[in-house]
């Protein structure tokens, strides 16, 4: 276990592993996204009340769940990097942030596109919209702090502390924002025992969610390789690779 841990934290090994894993994430992700899109847009029946407008949820819900998941992954990686001084974990956290921020933007955009026909307004100060917006601010703050240091190691450690403080705060933000009257419909798939969504509508959503996760993994393989290249730009193993190819 520890051997594996050490091996993974060596940049050349991680660089090669990420390159090797990437197609195994990327192609299944594309396949699942295609299946999920077809299932969601064509096969799933029309909602009796919301008509076709509900179909945007096949993008909205997966990106919303990813936006939170990526933030937690970022904070966990940052904590690992801070505690065990593992550079690769910091590289992972740094690579996470822009992806997570874009998932958050996608959630907000699809949410407001959905909101226009459903609630008759682009934006509503509803708890979930607002907490998603605050999550975006957290991502932006994290990236801004990271960008303000010239020294990568200090940027790593300072932004790791911010990520950990942020993740402690996320539930507080979440529940404080729930204090308002809500327009947003309650969660419809987390109730696994008796889902209030029909199976014919549910399966494309689950396929899409898995597709999003795999897509994130594939993008992370690329981004972490880029991050390693940037950090190790003077290392000898890199020039060996560059000469080798």
């Amino acid at each position: 276990m520890w051997l594996w841990f050490h091996k993974l934290s060596s940049p050349p090994h991680a660089y090669r592993t990420a390159g090797r894993l990437r197609p195994w994430f990327f192609w299944p992700a594309i396949l699942l996204l295609l299946i999920g899109t077809y299932g969601g847009l064509v096969l799933a029946p029309e909602d009796y009340q919301q008509k076709d407008a509900f179909r945007i949820l096949y993008v909205h819900v997966p990106s919303a769940s990813m936006s939170l998941m990526v933030y937690v992954a970022l904070a966990v990686a940052a904590a690992i990097g801070l505690i065990w001084r593992m550079k690769l974990a910091h590289a992972f956290a740094a690579a996470c942030a822009p992806v997570g921020a874009w998932f958050t933007v996608l959630t907000l955009v699809t949410g407001s596109i959905y909101g226009k026909p459903m609630w008759g307004t682009w934006w509503e100060w509803d708890p979930r919209l607002t907490s998603e917006l605050i999550l975006l601010f957290l991502y932006l703050g994290y990236m801004a702090l990271r960008a303000s240091f010239d020294d990568t190691q200090r940027a790593d450690r300072a932004s790791a502390i911010l990520a950990i403080v942020g993740v402690v705060n996320v539930p507080i933000v979440k529940y404080s924002v729930v204090w308002w009257n809500s327009l947003h419909q309650g969660p419809s798939i987390s109730k696994l025992a008796a889902p209030s969504i029909d199976p014919s509508m549910l399966w494309p959503l689950l396929v899409m969610m898995l597709g999003f996760v795999l897509y994130f993994a594939a993008v992370m393989c690329d981004r972490i390789r880029g991050e390693i290249l940037r950090r190790e730009r003077n290392a000898s193993w890199l020039s060996e690779i560059a000469v080798g190819t």
């Binding site: 601010f137 703050g141 200090r154 911010l162 933000v173």
Partner: protein, 228 residues
Amino acid sequence: MTAPGLLGLVRLVIARDLKLAVRHWDQVVQPLIFFVIVTTLFPLAISPALDELRKIGPGIVWVAAMLASLLALESLFRPDVEDGTMEQWTLSGQPLSIMLLAKTFTHWLLAGLPLVAISPLVGTALGLPSSVWPVLAISLALGTGSLSILGAIGAALTVAVRRGSVLLALLVLPLEMPVLIFGARAVDLAMHGESVAGPLNLLAAMLLLFVSLGPIAMAAAMRISVES
């Protein structure tokens, strides 16, 4: 000379910062003036009618308090880091988290407590009835404590960054939003004659959480900022 105990240490830090504040009293007063000026902007921008201002009064006071506390944070750690005091603190072998907490407490005495004191004045100007003064003051007293601690974490993170004040606002304001929500909510409920125990309890709970965990983050952030 024997090394001071933990309480003695806290007392020394507080006494030192209070003495510094007395010598530079203008820096203490400036955020307070800023607080009053910001609350003046709202009647000018929205409407001089007290009926309308009353509705948004709690929000105005709270947003202004948040901005004023943010403004005061700039000078919380910077002078000590620049003249090398903070470096001595990190090397002193004393618990840095306790010293920073003491420093933050002094900061709250100088930046948070005055806001509490003049809040009835500002509230009256915005048409808040005198019956909500106590709730306004209590909510600000509890809330500015949380704001000071969250702000101190941000200040410790950004103290080594050039022109860190905009960055500080960017980092700290999203984290402070829950405090704003409960603080403004408490005053709002009080105006409608409803029970304010809920939001005030939550504000107190947040303050306790931040007091217990915040210093650890502050000290970790300060060590990163001071090294090199």
